[in-house]
């Protein structure tokens, strides 16, 4: 049987700019960042106190609740009503707010909230989402850190491409919590000046950000039969490993380049045909030069001129949700014909000699984009999205 063409027909998103793609468009595609002092929890014992959070005054929602909101939007966009057979694949490490409240209440002698504690397990977040919406099986959490959502999307595409599923709901979620914030803070991984400055000289680290996004992925054939309008074709995907270090990226970006090359090969696309690269671009001293070298390996000298931006400079790093949030940004770039900028860029770094779109949003005929992510343990992901 011929491999199915895979398309995205629905998407729902919530970022630090708020719920919905319009808020994301108004923020990221205008070059605005969402960083502000954290008020969601006490940071008085931390070195840093800045993150990209969205609070609507109704208290902090759980991951499953936010995912359900995104999923409803995605299903509405796709025009799918019967969801009882839809598998659901979500990038999440679990809702670590539940880890924090369990131990906080245990220490103070209070009874921990059972529901919040249950959500601290990744599988329960997915189960809760699926139960809320009446989704099908399998119900799988992808827990491989900062590539988790991209991996969930890739897995969904594999299911559709091989004909093992006709449609899949997939995505990822991370909401900034005191537990993970404290770990990043103690590891001195957070930016020291309250901004993320990817690819710039003097960059000092990342900042965390809320993010959740859910997609409906299905075969182009089925979408056509239903009369659904594809938002994008997912023409290539790949995951690789650096085989280099427990936390550091390969200094030559070998694994990330291999992922990009494999995804482009699957897409049957020449690197010269890529109009925009949404980089992992964490703004850390080690990631950005390694990613630059990876892009030079893939694009050759064109790496100097192909538009590459790190939208984490505005949304913050959404960890397990990063690949999903950034895939929505790629969908918007394809639809709007706008390349989002890299915000916070100051002085160029010779080790990051890229066109990282520092001046602001750029209008361009965007037909094919490459989205990259990487995680601890040297894990890399690449997705190729195309305008239908």
């Amino acid at each position: 049987m011929a491999a199915e063409t895979v398309v995205i027909t629905g998407a729902g998103v919530r970022s630090a700019f708020g719920p919905g793609e319009q808020r994301l468009l108004d923020g990221v595609f205008a070059g605005r960042h969402a960083f502000a002092p954290v008020t969601r929890f006490d940071t008085s014992r931390s070195r840093g106190n800045v993150a990209a959070l969205y609070d609507d005054g109704r208290g902090q929602p759980g991951q499953a609740q936010v995912l359900a909101e995104c999923a409803r939007t995605a299903l509405d966009t796709a025009g799918i009503r019967d969801v009882s057979a839809l598998p659901v694949l979500i990038g999440t490490k679990g809702d670590f707010q539940g880890v924090h409240t369990f131990w906080r209440d245990t220490v103070t002698g209070d009874r921990p909230d059972p529901a919040a504690t249950a959500q601290s397990l990744a599988g329960h977040v997915v189960e809760e989402l699926a139960t809320t919406l009446g989704l099908g099986r399998p119900r799988t959490a992808f827990t491989n850190a900062c590539v988790a959502a991209a991996d969930a999307l890739a897995h969904a595409c594999r299911l559709v491409r091989t004909g093992r599923a006709e449609a899949v709901l997939c995505g990822g979620a991370y909401l900034v919590d005191p537990e993970v914030f404290a770990k990043f803070d103690q590891a001195r991984a957070l930016s020291s000046d309250g901004r993320v400055r990817p690819f710039a000289k003097g960059r000092s680290g990342l900042l965390l950000g809320d993010g959740a996004a859910v997609f409906v992925v299905e075969s182009a054939r089925r979408a056509c039969e239903r009369g659904a309008r594809p938002l994008a074709v997912v023409s290539g995907w790949a995951l690789t490993n650096d085989a280099h270090h427990v936390v550091h990226p390969h200094p030559q970006g070998a694994g990330l380049a291999a992922a990009a090359e494999a995804a482009l090969r699957m897409a049957g696309a020449d690197p010269a045909s890529v109009d925009y690269v949404n980089a992992h671009g964490t703004g850390t001293p080690l990631n950005d030069p390694a990613e630059t070298k990876a892009l030079y390996r893939v694009f050759g000298e064109r790496a100097r001129t192909v538009p590459v931006s790190s939208t984490k400079s505005m949304t913050g790093h959404a960890l397990e949700a990063a690949g999903a949030l950034e895939a929505v940004i790629c969908l918007l770039a394809l639809r709007e014909g706008i390349v989002p900028p890299t915000a916070g860029f100051t002085e160029p770094d010779p080790e990051c000699d890229l066109d990282c779109v520092p001046e602001g949003p750029r209008h361009l005929d965007v037909r094919r984009v490459l989205s990259l992510n990487a995680a601890f343990g040297g894990v890399n992901s690449a997705l190729v999205l195309e305008r239908p």
């Binding site: 014992r45 490490k93 679990g94 670590f96 539940g98 880890v99 924090h100 369990f102 131990w103 245990t106 220490v107 059972p114 529901a115 504690t117 249950a118 601290s120 397990l121 990744a122 599988g123 329960h124 997915v126 189960e127 399998p138 119900r139 799988t140 959490a141 992808f142 827990t143 491989n144 850190a145 897995h155 594999r158 299911l159 491409r161 091989t162 093992r164 005191p178 537990e179 404290a182 770990k183 990043f184 103690q186 590891a187 001195r188 991984a189 790949a238 995951l239 690789t240 490993n241 650096d242 085989a243 280099h244 270090h245 427990v246 936390v247 995680a375 601890f376 343990g377 040297g378 894990v379």
Partner: protein, 236 residues
């Protein structure tokens, strides 16, 4: 505690299907609570158990006889765990809740992919790496992912690792929550890791043990239990 397991001797479980098990390894915290050690990882047996099970499955990292030697680019790793490294997460969580700070060393080891980075480095595995979790049957999700990677020809072989730590108070509370799935897997009572090297039947020279994802929970449990007990019997 674990023993070395040089060759396969036992009969495979009678599970029909499309995955060939060409190697297996098992590791567990012993009756005295002692776990293997792995440099760079502290306080939790999660990463050491994973690494030890993989070493028993694949042999020494520098061995030319290793089934991943010269095949690292076409080897994928899939790790499954219901609760992940809950020991590290709870250690850090309790410290933060008490007003203390989490040691930086706990930062990287809470990330599931960290130990897989060590394994990938030592065995030169550069293929896809994924980690999955599912409430009812993480083993089935693990085997499904492995089978799909083989079917999609994104890998020629998959190193599948199932790891569970003995449930601590948070995991027990999570699994006992009224909102929890009544069909959820029971809380693990022992810290164990099982590693299987999987290929498509017919791709390997040895007689395979076969299973068939998607498989029911009982078959998944049986497969991994088989691997574990085979290891205990001195069988690889």
């Amino acid at each position: 505690m674990t023993t070395q397991h040089p060759t396969q001797k036992a009969a495979p479980p009678a599970v029909p299907g499309a995955l060939a098990v060409v190697g297996s390894g098992f590791s567990a915290v012993d009756g005295d609570g002692k776990a293997p050690r792995l440099p760079g990882f502290v306080a939790s047996p999660f990463a050491p158990l994973v690494y030890d099970a993989v070493r028993r499955c694949l042999g020494a990292p520098d061995s030319e006889d290793s089934p991943v030697a010269h095949r690292g680019e076409r080897t994928a790793i899939v790790l499954g765990s219901l609760a992940g490294d809950a020991v590290t997460a709870d250690l850090a969580g309790e410290k933060v809740a008490c007003g203390g700070v989490a040691e930086p060393v706990l930062f990287h080891q809470t990330v599931t992919t960290a130990v897989l980075g060590v394994i990938a480095r030592d065995y030169r595995i550069t293929g896809p790496v994924t980690c999955v979790s599912a409430v009812r049957d993480t083993g089935a999700a693990l085997l499904d992912s492995a089978a799909l990677l083989l079917e999609a020809q994104e890998a020629e072989q998959v190193l599948a690792v199932l790891v569970e730590l003995a449930a601590g108070p948070r995991t027990l509370a999570a699994l006992a929550a009224p909102t929890a799935d009544p069909l959820a897997a029971p809380a693990p009572h022992r810290s164990t890791a099982v590693a299987l090297l999987l290929r498509t039947p017919g791709d390997e020279p040895v007689a395979p043990r076969v299973c068939a994802p998607p498989v029911p929970a009982t078959a998944t449990a049986r497969l991994f239990a088989y691997a574990a007990t085979a290891a205990d019997r001195g069988v690889r």
